[in-house]
């Protein structure tokens, strides 16, 4: 319309940069999910058994459950600060498609909360005596799976952003949607142990990722509009 109006791409990049900037200024919010992941994963051998053989059996599940819980913990601060200070209203009143702005926030959030967990996971896997041949699969499935968890979690957070004391509600909304990801991810890892072909599992995870990338931000956008109402 007007010559100096910002393009949607510029608004997308601007929102992503802003969220990353905020995350780096609130360092504890980056560190929290990451440290939580380390603690949960480290407690399993202490609580169940230090026996390397049995640890190797449960390692895939332990890693995925820890990643899921860490992602759930991290979700809480996705929109709440913006809601409190009114930035969320400004976001909703932009003439750019809300889909892209929400996507920018989701990507920014995953980069600071999901990616560190994925990157540290081989180290935790080593600690759990993880089967050597499955490292690559673990890394890839987590790399594909954690963004799905973030995108789905975003819907739940968006729905509950105006409510106080929403921890449990959030879990009840988010966890059922996350379970298929958990199942596919852990199955894929277990199947490498049986030297079965992986393409199917990875294809399912990929389909979930593409599906949630294209649909979840739309749902989050609508949910945000409802929540500020």
């Amino acid at each position: 319309m007007k010559a100096d109006e910002s393009s949607t791409y510029q608004a997308f990049v601007g929102t992503l940069k802003r969220d990353l900037l905020i995350a780096f200024k609130r360092k504890n919010e980056i560190a929290n999910p990451f440290i939580f992941f380390l603690i949960v994963a480290a407690l399993f051998p202490i609580g169940i058994t230090p026996d390397p053989v049995r640890l190797a059996e449960i390692a895939a599940g332990v890693l995925w459950i820890s990643a899921l819980l860490a992602s759930l913990l991290a979700m809480d601060n996705l929109y709440s600060a913006d809601f409190e200070d009114g930035s969320l209203e400004q976001l909703l009143l932009s003439h750019h498609p809300l889909y892209f702005l929400v996507l920018a926030k989701n990507i920014g959030h995953w980069l600071v909360s999901g990616l560190p967990v994925v990157l540290i996971s081989p180290l935790i896997a080593y600690m759990l005596n993880f089967p050597r041949e499955s490292y690559m699969v673990l890394f890839i499935t987590l790399l594909m799976g954690t963004p799905i968890l973030s995108l789905l979690g975003s819907i739940g957070v968006a729905l509950t952003v105006g409510l106080g004391g929403r921890g449990l509600v959030l879990a009840v909304i988010t966890l059922p949607m996350s379970v298929p990801v958990l199942i596919t991810g852990t199955l894929a890892i277990q199947e490498t142990g049986n030297s079965a072909p992986l393409v199917g599992y990875l294809a399912i995870l990929g389909a979930m990722l593409v599906g949630s990338l294209s649909l979840a931000p739309l749902a989050s956008a609508v949910a945000l509009r409802i929540s500020v109402n």
Partner: protein, 209 residues
């Protein structure tokens, strides 16, 4: 007659809003022309903020017709949002960011903006020397000024300001009044809720009771 209707850019008719089984307003109708400031008055809880949020499309719990340049806003939302600057109760300033970073984002959502323009806008609002400090170290009034700094940067036709004077000192009030006068001089529209006696010519008052 026709001409005057053309100038009515924002038009509200038969607006009805109920909250918690209490009717806030019924059959509310008004219109805002180019170069007009509408001051919305009313006692606490009379629905001033609700009215502004309805006009912005942030609150959909209403019945009635709101039109922008002759079209219902639901049909021209993109056009409406690109000509709207809204400052609400929650001022939209992130406390961990500096004023510069805040404005870069919030103005960048609407149009391209240079750092130089942001600096001069902050200076105009009396925030010189605070450009690079994190907003939580600023006072409430200063944070309000950070939020108001996007007004000189904005090219929006319509300003909707919810209680913009509350935390401002005498200087700040004068600055904002000057901004409003300039905006109206350019043919802009403004809706303002405040109890403050505005020293602006051509002011229209809507009393919600």
């Amino acid at each position: 007659m026709e001409e005057s209707r053309d100038l009515e850019i924002l038009k509200v008719s038969q607006l009805f809003c109920e909250r918690d089984e209490r009717i806030l307003f019924k059959g509310l109708a008004f219109s805002v022309r180019e170069g007009q400031i509408l001051q919305i008055k009313g006692s606490n809880g009379s629905g001033k903020t609700t009215l502004l949020r309805i006009l912005c499309g942030l609150n959909s719990g209403y019945q009635g017709l709101i039109s922008w340049r002759g079209k219902p806003i639901g049909e021209c939302l993109d056009e409406f949002y690109s000509s709207l600057t809204y400052i609400g109760h929650r001022v939209g300033v992130s406390k961990v960011l500096t004023p510069i970073e805040n404005l870069r984002w919030v103005s960048g959502l609407h149009h391209q903006v240079t750092d130089q323009a942001i600096y001069s806008s902050l200076q105009k609002m009396g925030l010189k020397g605070f450009e690079e400090s994190q907003c939580f170290s600023l006072s409430a009034g200063q944070q309000q000024r950070v939020s108001l700094s996007k007004l000189p940067l904005s090219r929006s036709k319509l300003w909707i300001l919810d209680e913009p004077f509350t935390t401002l000192d005498a200087d700040g009030i004068e600055l904002l009044e000057i901004l409003l006068c300039e905006h109206v001089g350019r043919g802009g529209l403004a809706l303002v809720t405040t109890h403050h006696q505005l020293a602006i010519p051509g002011l229209t008052i809507l009393d919600l009771g």
